[in-house]
C-alpha cells in the first residue's frame, strides 16, 4: 500500500465486546416465543437456526471486524473464513453470503477491491454464492459477511449437548490473537505470522465434513472469547471440563510473546468474565494467556464420546492443520487446567 494509513489497529476478534457486557444487554431485549426458532440467543450459540419445514432449517450468522493483518486480500480471506465458520460449527451447509463493508472515504479503492476479492474467493471455496452486500463510509476499515446456510433440524450440533466423559477435540492451534498482536508492534517472526494466517484463513469446512459420521454431542468454533470462553459456553451451567495443559496446541512463538506481555485487552476481558470458574492447577502464566487469547477464525471445539474421539482424531490428522484431544467434559462446573 502506498498510503501511510494505519490499516491494522488491532482488529479481528480482539475487537469484540466483552462477554459479560453483551449478555447483560441481550437479556434485556424483548423475545418472541416461536417454536420454530431452534437455536437463538438463549443457548449462546454461534448462529440462529430457524425451522422452515420438518426436514429443513436455515442457519443465519454474521461476523465483521477491523483488520488484523496488513495485506487486504489476506484480510478478506480471513474475515470470510471467520464468518463462514459459524455455519460449519452448527453442522450446516453454506448457501449464500452478503458483504458487510466499512471503508474510509479517502482511502484507495483498490484496497477495498483486494479485500472483496479475498472474501469472494473464500466464499467460493466454501461452496457458497456471494450475492451482494452493503457498504458505508467509516473512519476505519471493517469487513465481514452475513452468511446463510441450511441444515436438517435433527442434525444440528448445538454447542451445549456435551456429556461428562466426552473428549474435547480442538482442530486449530491457539495463540493467533497473541501472534497478530505481537506483529502489530513489530515483534512477531515471519514463521509465527505465517502459521497464524494459515490457521485463520483455513475454512472449518474440512474438519466439519469429517465430523458428520460421528455422534458429536457438542460443537462450537473458537473465536473472540478464547478457548476458555467458548468452552464455558459449551459446558453451560451444568458441566465443566478438565484440560490437559501438555496437549493444548498453540503456535510455539505465542508462548514467548505472552511472556513478554504482548497480550490483548480482549484477553483480559475474557479472563475477567470467567473469573474463578477457571482453575489453573499448573503455574504457567503464558499458557493462561493463550487459553484466554481471542482467536480470529479459530478451529472447532468438538465434544464426543472417547472411542469416537480417537477415530475422528485419526481422520482429522489427514488435514494440513493438526488437531488434538485437549481434555474432557466433567460433571463439575469448574474449568480445570492440569
Amino acid at each position: 500500500m502506498d498510503e501511510n494509513i494505519v490499516f491494522c489497529k488491532g482488529g479481528g476478534c480482539t475487537a469484540k465486546l466483552g462477554p459479560g457486557a453483551l449478555s447483560r444487554m441481550l437479556d434485556k431485549l424483548p423475545r418472541k416465543q416461536d417454536e420454530n426458532l431452534l437455536i437463538g440467543f438463549d443457548s449462546s450459540d454461534d448462529a440462529a437456526v430457524y425451522r422452515l419445514r420438518e426436514d429443513l432449517a436455515i442457519v443465519q450468522t454474521l461476523d465483521f471486524f477491523p483488520p488484523m493483518v496488513e495485506d487486504p486480500y489476506t484480510f478478506g480471506q480471513i474475515a470470510a473464513a471467520n464468518a463462514l465458520s459459524d455455519i460449519y460449527a452448527m453442522g450446516g451447509e453454506v448457501k449464500t453470503a452478503l458483504n458487510i463493508v466499512c471503508f474510509p472515504e479517502h482511502y484507495d479503492l483498490n484496497i477495498l477491491g483486494k479485500i472483496l476479492q479475498g472474501g469472494s474467493e473464500k466464499v467460493q471455496e466454501a461452496g457458497g454464492i456471494l450475492a451482494g452486500g452493503h457498504s458505508i463510509f467509516d473512519t476505519d476499515v471493517k469487513y465481514g459477511l452475513s452468511v446463510t446456510g441450511v441444515i436438517h433440524p435433527d442434525r444440528i450440533y448445538a454447542n451445549n449437548g456435551a456429556q461428562p466423559g466426552d473428549r474435547l477435540i480442538l482442530t486449530k492451534p491457539l495463540g493467533v490473537g497473541i501472534v497478530t498482536t505481537a506483529d502489530r508492534v513489530g515483534e512477531a517472526s515471519v514463521e509465527a505470522m505465517e502459521q497464524a494466517v494459515a490457521s485463520m484463513s483455513t475454512l472449518n469446512k474440512y474438519a466439519a465434513e469429517r465430523m458428520k459420521a460421528y455422534a458429536v454431542h457438542g460443537c462450537t468454533d473458537v473465536t473472540g472469547f478464547g478457548l476458555l470462553g467458548h468452552l464455558a459456553e459449551m459446558t453451560g451451567k451444568g458441566r465443566g471440563a478438565v484440560l490437559y495443559g501438555e496437549q493444548i496446541p498453540y503456535i510455539p512463538e505465542a508462548r514467548g510473546y505472552a511472556e513478554e506481555f504482548l497480550i490483548t485487552a480482549a484477553g483480559q476481558r475474557n479472563r475477567n468474565y470467567l473469573g474463578d470458574r477457571v482453575e489453573f492447577l499448573r503455574e504457567d502464566f503464558p499458557l493462561e494467556e493463550i487459553l484466554y487469547d481471542p482467536q480470529t477464525s479459530g478451529g472447532l471445539l468438538i465434544a464426543l464420546p472417547p472411542a469416537e474421539a480417537e477415530s475422528l482424531l485419526a481422520e482429522l490428522q489427514t488435514l494440513p492443520i493438526s488437531s488434538a484431544i485437549i481434555g474432557e467434559i466433567t460433571a463439575d462446573r469448574k474449568l480445570v487446567i492440569k
Binding site: K9, G10, T181, V185, E260, F261, L262, I263, T264, A265, Q268, R269, R271, N272, D276, F285
Partner: protein
C-alpha cells in the same frame, strides 16, 4: 532520590501500554518507579498482571473518567498488590502462603504421656514446620504454649524463621501474664482471645499437634 519515569499511554491500545512500561522499567536499570497513565481499566489490569508476574509492587488509582494512574516500583522489597482481581497477588519470594492454615499450640508438650518426650516432640514439630514448603498463615500459642515463644524456649530460631517468612506468631497475653512471662516474649506479638477466636474461625484448616 529515586528515579521516576512517566509514561503516557492514554489512547494506546493493549499491549502498547505494557510495552511502554516494560521499556521504562528497563531504562530505570534498577531501583525507581514508572508512572503510567492509561485511559481504561483493562489496561490497568494488564499492567497489574505484568507487575505481579515480575514480582514488582504496583498501585493504581482512577483520576478521572478516562485517566488511570498506575505506579510500578522496582528495586524494593515488594508489597502485596492491592488490586488482586485475578487472585494473583504479588508474592514475597518464599514458599506458598496463600492458604489459611492455622496451627494452634495449646501446651508446651506434644501428646500425652511422658513429659520429656512431649517437649522433644513439640520442638521437633516446630522445626519441621519451619522447614516445610507449605507454611501456615499463623501459629497461635496459648496456655502452656507461650513457653515456646519466650526466653527459655528452644524453638526460638525456628519460630523466628517462620516469622521471617511472613507467618504470624501470636502469643496469648493472658497466658503470658499468668506464667509471669510478660516482657519475655522473644518472637512475634501478643494477642488476645478475640484474635485467637477470629483466626481459628477464619481458618480453612486448623492443625493442633
Amino acid at each position: 532520590m529515586k528515579q521516576m519515569i512517566r509514561v503516557d499511554a492514554r489512547g494506546d491500545q493493549c499491549p502498547v501500554p505494557v510495552i511502554k512500561t516494560k521499556k521504562a522499567l528497563q531504562e530505570l536499570g534498577g531501583a525507581g518507579s514508572v508512572e503510567v497513565h492509561v485511559d481504561n481499566e483493562i489496561a490497568v489490569q494488564n499492567l497489574e498482571k505484568m507487575a505481579s508476574v515480575k514480582q514488582l509492587s504496583c498501585h493504581s488509582e482512577k483520576l478521572a473518567e478516562r485517566d488511570y494512574r498506575v505506579v510500578i516500583t522496582a528495586g524494593e522489597p515488594e508489597a502485596p498488590a492491592k488490586e488482586a482481581e485475578q487472585g494473583r497477588t504479588a508474592e514475597v519470594c518464599g514458599p506458598d502462603r496463600q492458604n489459611r492454615t492455622v496451627v494452634a499450640i495449646s501446651s508446651a508438650l506434644m501428646g500425652t504421656g511422658n513429659e520429656e518426650l512431649g517437649k522433644v516432640l513439640l520442638k521437633g514439630f516446630l522445626y519441621a514446620l519451619a522447614q516445610s514448603e507449605t507454611l501456615p498463615s499463623a501459629v497461635l500459642f496459648y496456655n502452656g504454649g507461650v513457653q515456646l515463644t519466650t526466653a527459655d524456649s528452644e524453638s526460638l530460631e525456628d519460630l523466628k524463621e517462620l516469622e521471617g517468612q511472613g507467618v504470624e506468631i501470636l502469643s496469648c497475653g493472658t497466658c503470658l501474664s499468668y506464667y509471669e512471662l510478660t516482657g519475655q516474649l522473644m518472637v512475634g506479638e501478643v494477642t488476645n482471645m478475640y484474635t485467637i477466636l477470629e483466626k481459628l474461625q477464619e481458618a480453612d484448616k486448623i492443625i493442633k499437634p
